[in-house]
């Protein structure tokens, strides 16, 4: 290419459909969707992937990422993914779940899936609320945080402390990779990409269960502007939900 010549350096990932999203302004789901799609492209997996969608604001993931997809009932994506992977071990299988989905109703399924060491990759979007249903308390809601069902703020002696899924799953033998990342700034986005890559690799290399927890903003239900919500990730979420890698069998 000649100097001065223009090159398209950033556009939608190949496996993503070029359509408007249904997300609210400033919702991180959109960013996370794209990171997942980039990873699929990077490993050239579009033709070979089966996506397991879940119920939550990400319910339309199959509209955005152009891969074969099946819809799991609320919380059951890890079980559905297990069924898919056992049926077609030759496929790359990932599921995408919210924090209500994964840490509340689906807690048993995710732990057992990880513990069995299923060769699947789980993308976990922790936005500390039930987004889709209008901002109710989630198992990851911070202590003191007001939601529509914790109108007086989450009380640690009644509702307990937020669950740290990346740590809990990281402690299980079957988990080959577990990390917590964020997409609130460019540095963290780069780290998130690396983590995603590893969570893909542990499946592709038949090592075990792969897991990435994303801290994610929900401006709508946090009742914040998108920019303030984005800031909250760092100021309020990270102190309780530290970013980091909690298990990495590739580097062991």
């Amino acid at each position: 290419m000649n100097p001065g010549q223009e090159k398209l350096v950033y556009t939608l990932p190949k496996c993503m459909n070029d359509i408007p999203t249904h997300f609210c302004p400033g919702c991180h789901h959109g960013i996370i969707h794209r990171l997942v799609a980039q990873a699929i492209d990077e490993f050239d997996l579009q033709d070979n992937t089966i996506c397991v969608g879940s119920v939550g604001c990400s319910v339309f993931i199959y509209n955005y990422i152009d891969v074969d997809s099946v819809e799991a009932p609320h919380g059951r994506a890890p079980a559905v993914a297990t069924g898919v992977k056992r049926a077609r071990p030759e496929n790359f299988v990932f599921a995408y779940q919210g924090d209500g989905d994964l840490a509340a109703i689906g807690l048993s399924e995710i732990i057992h899936c990880a513990n069995r060491g299923e060769r699947v990759t789980i993308i976990f979007v922790n936005n500390t609320v039930y987004g889709m249903t209008g901002g109710q308390m989630a198992p990851t809601t911070l202590v003191g945080q007001k939601t529509t069902t914790s109108p007086y703020g989450r009380r640690e002696d009644k509702e307990g402390y937020p669950l740290k899924m990346a740590e809990i799953l990281g402690s299980l033998e079957g988990t080959a990779f577990s990390a917590r990342v964020a997409v609130n700034n460019i540095k963290n986005i780069l780290k998130a990409k690396k983590a995603l890559k590893k969570a893909f690799q542990v499946q592709l290399q038949d090592i075990g269960f792969g897991f990435v927890e994303f801290l994610s903003a929900c401006p709508t239900n946090w009742h914040m502007s998108p920019l303030d919500a984005n800031k909250r990730i760092e100021t309020e979420l990270m102190p309780y939900f530290p970013l980091g890698i909690f298990k990495d069998k590739i580097n062991e």
């Binding site: 223009e6 090159k7 950033y10 556009t11 999203t21 400033g26 991180h28 700034n185």
Partner: protein, 78 residues
């Protein structure tokens, strides 16, 4: 000079892009698009400084931005 293209119809005016641009090129415009959002535009005065770093595009939740980088003339062709 590198440059970006904004699909203003799809922009939701969240302004996340403005928070990461090292050159402060992106600003909120005054108009609403058909979805009722005040979309971002380039600050015409700073536009030229675009580095083509794609930070704005990386963070945009709605995939609104495409980035075109211009190969620096100092570098050899590759």
């Amino acid at each position: 000079m590198s440059r970006i293209e904004i699909n203003t119809l799809r922009c939701k005016g969240c302004l996340l892009c403005t928070s990461v641009c090292p050159e402060d090129i992106l600003i909120q415009g005054d108009d609403l698009n058909t979805n009722g959002y005040k979309f971002v535009i380039c600050d015409e005065t700073k536009k030229e400084n675009c580095r083509g770093c794609a930070f704005c595009a990386e963070i945009c939740p709605d995939g609104v931005i495409e980035v075109y980088k211009t190969v620096k003339s100092k570098k050899r062709d590759s």
